[in-house]
Amino acid sequence: MARTRSKGGAASTSADKTTSTTAKSASTSAYTLPAESSNPPKLFVLPKDASSSARIITLENPRYGKPTRYLVCPENGSFYEFTKIAPPNKSTPRSWLLSSTEKASILESQTIQSPELYLATPYDPLFLLLPALFTSSSNLIPNTDRHFSEILTLPNSQVEKALESRLVSVCDCVELSDDKMYRPNDSKLSSVILSKARKMAENLPPSMEEKFIKKALEAPVMGIDSVSSETQSTTNSTSTAPSAISTAPTTPSTSPPSEPTFAPAITASPAIVSLQRLRTSLNFILSSYLPPSLSKALQSSLPSDTFAPLEEYLSQLSKLRAEAAASRSNDINGGKRARDEEDDERLEKKRKMEQEDKVKKANTSRGVKQLAKVDTKGMMKLSAFFKKKA
């Protein structure tokens, strides 16, 4: 994908127009700050190969059912969705400073207050078709959606062709005389989605890799004891894809116990890691591009053994985590060490009390000690005779 600034970009969208007009106003008042635009320009990165006839259109989002903007280029029939990139921390003020790369004067540069960047990324129009095809209630989109139908009728539009080719991938096609009839095919759809997920899994962005793959598969770190090494060996025997990497650190389970080392109790084999990647990608696609009802149906229609080894690993992992958490909490309130400490504390207290008593006794005269033994039965307290002084 080429990076193009919306200003002067190939596509002449409405957003582009506002950008160029403000640019002009900025250049006229050279040394004073131009008045703030009521309709501030936005920064877009548009595809290089989008033709000048490309339009931003509003279509119903297949996932959320809300009107959403898409960039459509009718000449090559490609669809693009916009991804908004915003700074994570809203409190820090940010803005764009744009200047042309040619040696134009600095006056031609401009600032955009809002720090957002809209990225047009290729979008499979198949997703737009899915609600109409696979959910029973909805009718065909083109009739209800003005933008869509307009796009279809644009001169030398390739949109219809592109849509048709996508349609074929998920439908059985029957030709009756001159008419082509399409019947949605669930298994075709699921294979298409799966292949998309596979492709995505090949190249997950690092942030997703860290959060959904590494963190999710990470086993709690424990000092190796008999329990964890046992579980390690069992995972290896059950894991369907034995791998050199995961077996290497676990071989000591048969050898005499060595020094306690701090290592994760179990490690995921590459097969399991790739399964986790696939599942993460699939979940991402299902949860952001498909209508909720359809994604649910698709999920259940997947062959049950697809993720079986992964499931097994995950259940093992959750057990280990629970164990680790339990042992941690034991350390805090009920563990042996804690109990010992408590005993120590009690002994310490006792010792202190004894010492205090000793000091007290040493500071008590014999007479006072003897008086303590005196039977004072029948003797009233002096406060019964003498009133307390204020």
Binding site: T364, S365, K377, M379, F386, K389
Partner: protein, 259 residues
């Protein structure tokens, strides 16, 4: 600040000795009239009230009220270092952490100085009213001490019976019984040996002998002791000191314990 100088340390030594067997910790309340002390024993059946008037010291200086919380056993230990004929000076700041004691021996020019750590003691004070007692017996303090010691052999309690015939101390115990009767008696040559009984009405009360023997620790302080009794009020045992100072003990009578 407090600065009190006693010509002889023995007065203070003996006073503290007498009190330390009844109470453990107590406050010495110092003000311009002197040093006072009031404390009850742990069982709260006996009370000691000490008043060392400013006249007993020379000089005595105390600008404001100062409470000196002292462990009497510790004070005794320090006072043991003082010779009875030493000149004793007590000193303390206005909000003191320590009580400073200086013992000076004029013969040998020896000066010893001690700082005794003080403590915070929460003590309640009882207001003791001036009472017209039914019987007031003045007798040699040594005699009173002997009576209590002798009767201890018989029982743990003694009945003091004052009548126009005299005063009778009697005890009945497991091994038998015994009594000592004293009559009014004057001694011109040795006034301190005299026995004086003032009686407005006959009175008979029973007291714990152990407490009385304990009071007798104050015997070295004074040659004479005064016992004041009235029905159903505490017995007062007073040791008068020079310069209107005194050491008084009060003891609750035993009531309804006839067996």
């Amino acid at each position: 600040m407090l600065e009190a100088r006693l010509a002889t340390a023995s007065l203070f030594k003996k006073t503290v000795d007498a009190i330390k067997d009844l109470v453990q910790d107590c406050n010495f309340d110092c003000n311009d009239s002197g040093i006072a002390l009031q404390a009850m024993d742990n069982s709260h059946v006996a009370l000691v009230s000490m008043m060392l008037k400013a006249e007993s010291f020379s000089p005595f200086r105390c600008d404001r009220n100062i409470a000196l919380g002292v462990n009497l056993t510790s004070l005794t230990k320090v006072l043991r270092a003082a010779g009875s004929e030493d000149v004793l000076t007590l000193k303390a700041e206005d909000a003191p952490d320590v009580l400073n004691l200086v013992f000076e021996n004029s013969d040998s020019d020896r000066i010893s100085e001690y700082d005794l750590k003080l403590m915070d003691i929460d003590q309640e004070h009882l207001g003791i009213p001036d009472t017209e007692y039914a019987a007031t017996i003045t007798m040699p303090s040594a005699e009173f001490k002997r009576i209590t010691t002798d009767l201890m052999a018989m029982s743990e309690s003694v009945t003091i019976e004052a009548s126009k015939d005299g005063v009778k101390f009697s005890s009945t115990g497991d091994i038998g019984n015994g009594s000592i009767t004293l009559r009014q008696h004057t001694n011109v040559e040795k006034p301190s040996e005299a026995i004086d009984i003032e009686l407005s009405e006959p009175v008979a009360l029973t007291f714990s002998l152990k407490y009385l023997t304990n009071f007798c620790k104050a015997q070295p302080l004074s040659a004479q002791v005064k016992l004041c009794l009235s029905a159903e009020v505490p017995l007062m045992v007073e040791y008068a000191l020079e310069g209107n100072s005194y050491l008084r003990f009060y003891l609750a009578p035993k009531i309804g314990d006839e067996e």
